[in-house]
């Protein structure tokens, strides 16, 4: 059974931060087409703060995710602060007492994050939000696991589903948040939240795959 050692995996959050910071301009550019263009700026600000605080400290994944969730919730604000803040805090709680993370724990973690987001926001799949990335990603992971695929393969399928979920937002009309005021004019553009969510899930999954033992 493939598992990841929680204690040594905090660096995954540093790679997540790097991915967000590297894509700062891109995320703001797509946000600017249907929002006010500050998604990349705000996300990079929050993730950058976290990376500076945890880099080189050899934290557990649980501790690093908790730090990330807390910073997003207490220092970023906007819509993404609470949504991602809740997601990472819930992730952290699920693995807090777990030494070796297996696919079942990983699934529990994903579901807790998703439930947290659904409790605070009011979006559904198809509303052109980060849920269009997160929901299919979680479903793909669970499906792969129930079909008996390995943790490694399930993570690979999770990333593919996240990215196709992200791409699906191009053809969606925003039904929530600021972009919802645009109606059909929001068509043809990726949702910035769905895009950052795909980046985050990719780093989380690939970081986990690299550490499976």
């Amino acid at each position: 059974m493939q598992k990841m050692n929680n204690a040594a995996a905090g660096e995954i959050v540093v790679s997540m931060a790097r991915a967000i910071i590297d894509n700062r301009a891109y995320l703001s550019e797509i946000d600017g087409k249907i929002g006010d263009g500050d998604h990349g700026i705000n996300m990079a600000k929050g993730f950058g703060l976290v990376a500076d605080r945890i880099r080189g400290k050899e934290l557990s994944l649980a501790k690093a995710l908790e730090t990330l969730g807390t910073v997003l919730m207490t220092e970023i604000g906007g819509s993404m602060g609470p949504l991602y803040g809740v997601m990472f805090t819930e992730f952290a709680q699920q693995i807090d007492q777990v030494d070796l993370i297996d696919n079942k724990t990983f699934s529990r973690m994903l579901h807790a994050g998703l439930t947290g987001i659904q409790e605070i926001g009011s979006a559904k799949v198809g509303d052109k939000t980060l849920l269009d990335t997160l929901v299919p990603a979680v479903e793909a992971f669970d499906k792969a696991t129930s079909e008996g695929k390995s943790f490694d393969e399930a993570l690979e399928l999770l990333v593919a589903a996240a990215e196709s979920g992200r791409d699906s937002t191009v053809n969606l009309i925003a039904r929530i948040g600021r972009a919802s005021r645009l109606g059909e004019r929001s068509l043809g553009v990726l949702d910035a939240g769905a895009t950052s969510c795909a980046l985050i899930l990719k780093e989380l999954s690939e970081g986990t795959r690299d550490r499976l033992q």
Partner: protein, 330 residues
């Protein structure tokens, strides 16, 4: 465009620093550097009145802190909701033991952060009530009023809520008065030129020269139509029609009227608009009890204006009369 900025990522911090220094006789900075409160708060035995929102709308929101108005404000990034923690801390600062009412605008981020702050405040043992402003007519049709944005009508909501709280009213009485104020408000915005977030560096929407965006939101949310720019008088007539057709007020109703610039429109042009606004409102048999013309709720350097009309009853009229002392002129 040229700006007075030290560091484009610290515009909000620098704004707060200057504001608190300039108005130290009225406000103070809380321990949380994103929360500003009235100097003598909390007041024991008084319901606390709190709001919060993104920056870039000055004098909203911090300019309305003061006696008989807001007790504390949570300050967000430019055009971005304050954190749940900042709302929680603002609630704590305003709590004088009788509960706190949070009066804020209908935006996704604010809704989520206030919701989380309420949970946190409950853990602190503070009773919190909320009123969400939904006065912007063009942001959703009348049958979906709950989806409308909150705009300059929020100022009337704060003034009424603040006055009610200052009289020793209970939490539910303050909430009900503020709710009545915003329910009686209708607003519309028109844009002649876009604004730019300093950290982004370019406008994220355009208004072509010679055109006007009717129904524009406070962050440049698109309006209901773009048309050729007409005379001020014709623009004012359109604004009145949008607001008053949605309002359904009986002849003889007394109203409060607020015309606010969006940041880059000179005051003289706001008075030019008001000249026709007054004629249109009076022409419909309504009576203007009190008018406010100025930069009350801006959107960085957006060129444009908003019109808010609040229908009055005796209670709202007397609450509106309560004198306030805050940095913004009211």
């Amino acid at each position: 465009m040229q700006r007075f900025v030290n560091n484009r990522d610290e515009v909000v911090e620098d704004t707060i620093k200057g504001f608190v220094k300039a108005h130290r006789d009225i406000v103070r900075l809380a321990e949380n550097q994103r929360v500003v409160t009235a100097i003598d708060r909390p007041a024991q035995g008084k319901v606390g009145v709190v709001t919060g929102g993104g920056s870039g709308h000055e004098p909203a929101f911090i300019g309305y802190i003061g006696r008989n108005m807001l007790d504390a404000v949570a300050v967000g990034e430019l055009f971005s909701s304050p954190t749940a923690k900042s709302f929680q801390d603002a609630i704590r600062e305003a709590n004088g033991g009788k509960g706190v009412v949070v009066l804020y605008g209908n935006y996704a981020g604010d809704n989520m952060n206030v919701k989380m702050a309420m949970k946190l405040a409950a853990k602190d043992g503070i009773e919190v009530a909320t009123v969400v402003a939904t006065d912007d007519v063009c942001s959703a049709p009348a049958e979906e009023q709950a989806k409308r944005r909150g705009v300059a009508g929020e100022i009337f909501m704060w003034k009424v809520g603040g006055a009610k709280a200052s009289m020793g009213a209970s939490l539910s009485e303050v909430r009900d008065a503020a709710q009545k104020a915003i329910d009686n408000c209708r607003s519309v915005g028109v844009g002649l030129g876009p604004c730019t977030l300093p950290a982004v560096g370019h406008p994220n929407f355009q208004i072509e020269p010679g055109t006007i965006e009717v129904g524009i939101g406070h962050h440049g949310e698109p309006g209901v139509r773009v048309e050729a720019l007409k005379s001020a008088s014709e623009v004012a007539k359109d604004m009145c029609q949008i607001v008053l057709d949605d309002h359904d007020l009986g002849s003889g109703t007394e109203v409060a009227v607020l015309v606010s610039g969006l940041g880059a429109t000179p005051l003289n042009e706001l008075y030019i608009l008001f000249d026709t606004v007054e004629e249109e409102i009076s022409g419909r048999g309504l009576r203007i009890h009190k008018a406010y013309v100025g930069n009350y709720f801006t959107s960085l350097e957006m060129v444009g204006a908003t019109l808010t009309v609040m229908a009055l009853d005796e209670e709202l009229k007397s609450l509106l009369e309560v004198e306030v002392r805050c940095a913004a002129t009211l």
